[in-house]
């Protein structure tokens, strides 16, 4: 499926170098935000919350949620801004005129979002270790969830960047859809704490399964079946990836 590996590597390198060269804007802000979340919610407020029923401290509970939340937002932001700016300046033509297949183009553009997401996610975990000991219970499962979630939202970011007509439209999906769903997906609370009706509705929120899968991988504790979480994550990753390839293939807002 990859006939031009050097081309894919070149595009991947460009995308990765782009966010690394402005690490003060792309890597450190989510880490600083995590420190604040962990201190305020985990230490200052969390110490007063009785969380013994879950078998975890409140801080231990929110760390996987924060890892997921920042993984999602950084992946989405990275590919959205990179692809939209490329469209805006029209230097996307550099890629479109190349002999990369549409599959390879998406793979190369994806690399920046995935790499940035992984760096931030691992960074949040390392920061958390300064607050609480948190051994990873299922490292391979964690790697699976990090990778699939990174693919889902990096591809989501590309779709958002293709759909957007101006900078104002760029963050609409993130503000009105993704962040509320992630917040309601159980970053800061277990589903058992919610009223029955909200808990039932939350079963239709895919973000819940992503957060829950990450939480199970780190702590061994989850609300839902881990198999269901893994299947949803894998299905969404494959679905968003091939949907993005399709958008490139038909030239959605890329070709006149």
């Amino acid at each position: 499926m990859i006939n031009n590996p050097i081309g894919v590597l070149a595009l991947s390198k460009r995308e990765i170098v782009r966010f690394l060269s402005v690490a003060s804007q792309t890597i450190f802000p989510p880490l600083i935000a995590s420190v604040l979340f962990m201190y305020i919610f985990g230490v200052a407020i969390g110490a007063r919350i009785d969380f013994s029923s879950t078998g975890l401290s409140y801080l231990g509970f929110i760390v996987p949620g924060l890892m997921t939340m920042h993984l999602i937002s950084t992946c989405y932001e990275n590919t959205t801004s990179s692809l939209f700016i490329a469209r805006w300046h029209n230097h996307i033509q550099e890629v479109l005129l190349s002999p990369l297949s549409y599959f390879e183009m998406v793979l190369g553009l994806l690399a920046g979002g995935v790499a940035r997401g992984i760096i931030v996610c691992v960074g949040v975990y390392i920061v958390a270790l300064f607050f609480t000991p948190l051994p990873i219970m299922h490292p391979f499962l964690l790697a699976f969830f990090i990778l699939t979630i990174a693919v889902i939202f990096s591809c989501g970011g590309m779709m958002g960047a293709l759909w957007a007509e101006d900078f104002g439209m760029l963050s609409l999906w993130s503000i009105y859809i993704i962040i509320p769903l992630v917040m309601m997906g159980g970053v800061f609370h277990p589903m058992t704490m919610l009223p029955d009706i909200v808990r039932h509705i939350s079963k239709f929120n895919p973000m819940h399964y992503l957060v829950d899968g990450m939480r199970y991988s780190v702590t061994g504790v989850s609300d839902s079946s881990i198999l269901v979480c893994a299947l949803i994550s894998l299905t969404l990753a494959l679905g968003t990836f091939f949907a993005t390839v399709y958008m490139f293939r038909i030239g959605y807002k890329l070709r006149t």
């Binding site: 550099e94 005129l97 030239g251």
Partner: protein, 242 residues
Amino acid sequence: MRDSERAISIKHLTKFYGKLQALDNISLEIKRGDFFAFLGPNGAGKTTTINVLTGLSNFQKGEAKAFGYNTVSEYTRTRRLIGLCAQEFNFDPFLTIHQLLVYQAGYFGIPPREASQRTDELLERFQLIEKRNVKHRALSGGMKKRLLICRALIHDPEILILDEPTAGCDLELKFLIWDHLTQLNNEGKTIFLTTHYMEEAEKLCKTIGIINHGRIVRIGNKQEVLRDKSLEAVFLEVTGQE
């Protein structure tokens, strides 16, 4: 004509932008090694034809081929054969001009060391080597024009397509670009050029096509098209302009 001798082949190409017909059943063939000028008033369909050939535009009917390869179904092959020097300065603003060309070479499957070497050779040839570590914003208009040509040539394409390469250039730069294009054509590259400058087409090209309202209204070798008239006179005659 064998496909290896037919650099560009367009058959019955029709393209609409919404309800506006940009190309109306156009057909043309350009031989390997030809220097083809594609002329026409603004909005006649020149850039649309280029965009279809390079895969930047979809179209509704017809087909376009480069050396026998279909530009839609075999796009990964045709894009290796074509280098496009666009009208606008559409460079990645975050990269130096050296990085920009090395990445561009990379997309074409050229390994980094060879890409860097080829980049320096092109920058040297187009007198940009001293600017290799600056971003394109720091270049003059003329330098950006030359950078566009460097980018189009980075993968050593068989066909070089130039969309008004000398528009807005001073005389010195125009002559410099003409020299480079003549040299590239002498080296065997097929050149497809659009321009509004009749003297440019008359001086450089072997074959001329004129498009108006999305239709090719005159095409042939230079002598056939001119028939002892000036190109400007022919152009005004076939496009109905005063």
